[in-house]
């Protein structure tokens, strides 16, 4: 099958039950996307497929074949962090940071389709992502700041 990941095509073999998460991590070597629960409840494995946040532990790789896939490794542009990454870094919106990839992808997906999210919309879009270290306040601050920065840049 052919997977289009971060603008690059990968030809690979995968069984029908192989999940996008493990194909990305083990066959393409993009380990920024994390395994957290395997039931789509924690959001650590979030990637963008067709620009929309998807739990890669719930999707067979075959279902994403041919569609543009963005992982955390694909957000930087010419060494410049994506506004969401930059905001997470500036607000230090993490502790152990194992959730950070998924959080950032969920937030990037939100801002891509809704550049001016309300507080309620931010919380709703992020509610499927867990941070066991409990850095939610900082994550909300970072997402708000990223929305503002994206609008200023646009």
């Amino acid at each position: 099958m052919r997977l289009l990941v971060n603008g690059k095509a990968h030809e690979l073999e995968a069984a029908p039950d192989e999940l996008l998460l493990w194909v990305l991590r083990d066959k393409i070597g993009l380990t920024g996307t994390k395994f957290g629960c395997g039931e789509g409840e924690c959001g650590a494995c979030t990637v963008l497929v067709n620009g929309r946040p998807v739990r890669s532990c719930q999707v067979p790789a075959a279902a994403a074949a041919g569609k543009p896939i963005t992982t955390i490794e694909g957000l930087e542009r010419n060494g410049r962090l994506h506004p969401v990454q930059a905001a997470f870094l500036r607000h230090e919106a993490f502790q152990c940071a194992y959730c950070a990839s998924g959080m950032i992808m969920s937030a990037a997906g939100l801002l891509a389709r809704n550049p001016k999210p309300s507080e309620r919309q931010i919380r709703a879009a992020m509610n499927g992502n867990l941070c066991r270290c409990g850095t939610y306040s900082r994550i909300l601050k970072a997402v708000r700041a990223a929305a503002l920065a994206s609008r200023k840049r646009a």
Binding site: F35, F94, Y98, C133, G134
Partner: protein, 717 residues
Amino acid sequence: MPDAAEPETAELRENREQQVERLAHRFAFERRTFFRLLGNGVLVGLAAGGAPAQESGRRRFFERHPLPRAISAWLHIAPTGRVTVYTGKVEVGQNIRTSLAQQVAEELHVEMGSIRMIMGDTLLTPFDMGTFGSRTTPTMGPRLRRVAASARDILTGLAARRWKTPRAGLVAENGKIRNPRTGASLSYGELTEGRKIARTIEDDPALTPAAEWRIAGHAAPKVHGRRFVTGEHRYTPDLALPGMLTGKVVRPSAFHARLVECDASRAHAMPGVRVVRDGDFVGVAAPDMATAARAAAAVRARWQAPRQISSRELYAWLRRTARHEEGRFAHTSGTPPAADAPGLKRLQASYEIAYIAHAPLEPRAALAEWKGQRLTVWTGTQRPFGVQQELAAAFHLPLEHVHVIMPDTGGAYGGKHTGEAAVEAARLARAAGRPVKLIWTREEEFTWAYFRPAGVIDIAAAVDAQGHIAAWEYDNYNSGPAAIGSPYRSRYSRIEFHPCDPPLRQGSYRSLAACANHFARESHMHDLAVLAGQDPLEFRLKNIPDPRLRAALRRAAARFGWAARRRLPGRRGFGLAGGFEKGGYVATCAEVEISGRELRVTRVVEAFDCGAVVNPNGLRNQIEGAIVMGLGGALREDIEFDNGRILNPRFSQYKVPRFADLPEIEVALIDRKNERSFGAGETPIVGIAPAIANAICDATGRRLRSLPMLRLGRLPA
């Protein structure tokens, strides 16, 4: 039993027969190899416990001698000026990689950026018991500061000799020694002159007082922060080795189950799959995750497990199996008031604390590689040296043949003291003859890790007419003795911890039993205040002798607006809780809103005092995080079990806090420059549950004495 996995048993037998006797004294040899590899420069070591090296009371070079084994930290300055610090402590999100580097930078007078921290590597770093008990800040921090200050002193001496000038007056700044009289300056790297200078610290160097700190004591961003927002950082599950296989364990049907029968022929027939059966252990190694899962599912295993109790019987079981241990966990002072003592109001109640799980987002994982009889394992653990011992014992290896490396890990919270995944990965790798990586599933993490102990706490207390505590009788069953001592003055007190037969595997959890003991004590104190007709804050200030705890309570109350609070009967309430543990003073205020059986925690203010603050940025993050984590145990988290099985081993069933649960949080730091710095990973979690319980009681008059307080997400009917 004709079974495809049979040969593996023989392999392990062979392994046992070939076991090598432990040669503990060779440790020093291994360390010397390391120092040979280290290259030139200045190396400074500190004896364990901070005492001068026992081998000698005098400063000495130790190239000619075996390296002292009892070294607790090393610092190396390369001719390039690069500073490398070696400590056995580990980073699990509590941010000590940053706060320890700050303290080294402070005393060595270098920039943060020139420091590299090597942590939790059993070959490279000195022995360390583990990263727990909030001990890094009060113990490792000062040790590294002493090492750094001594290194600066050595460099000053080198400069003085080089310039043939008295050392007094020479200044260390920005990685250089400068002579203000001549204007000459030499960088630390230049001063090493490509030589190898190794010393242990002889005496206590003067440390910079916190009030004069320029790097420590100020907000510092997380070291390597960028790597975490780009996905570049490699946690254990992200590591790979050539030829590596994926491991998976076939789990027993229940706790304490024995393997009765095992047919692994179907799994064995799968291409590239290796099956291991050894005693009650069954596992597979396969080329990829999907095949490993298929192979494990194809193993037909029959288990036999003893009958075990369920969570419904938990508290009665704990009481039934409780032991009284005279002396060790019992403390009495004063004499009990007479039963008919006039003016006393009495309050007796029992509190319950459910089993809960740590549920770190990074589950247990390990990558194991054998080279002959030598084993290397990468794994996320709070005790790399403990895991090294576990592996050495499991595979009958000498300690120095086991190398454990701990990549910065995705959460631990007291839950990663053990090396289960390391042993499993190593067992599979041994059989497969290839490196094996094993990542626990969420269900495994919720089932086969250990839990925070459940407990029952009985309190019988009395207040007199003036609102002083006249009696305090306290029995804790199974939760644990941490913070069991009361910070309140009482004319009579009897405090006792009763160990029980725990129905689940239990172990440490952030703050240990301090959560349970503060929940019970601070709930009871609120009710005693009400009984005495006093404001809960005034009652505490009157009965708590420790001025720092009183100050924390005042600070939280002031920030919260305690005096101006307006309760709405049945709908809005306010609660307060405070305490002391592991060098930290905490006070927490909570506001709740109630609508029918729906509860919302709307606002939390917490004041925290852990002495001189090392990194206010990291400290705030820890405190906010502890409040959120504590919210879970207070309201929803509850491990349900029956007959040796966990009934809710998923995030869809075991509810941890989410964005939707987040209250407005304010943190007030009390920075005491003249007090010793203590850790903050644990104590900030202890106030939230009782503060919420007290707020619910304030709003509704109803006292919830069982954690978690909600049932199916709602207040109990």
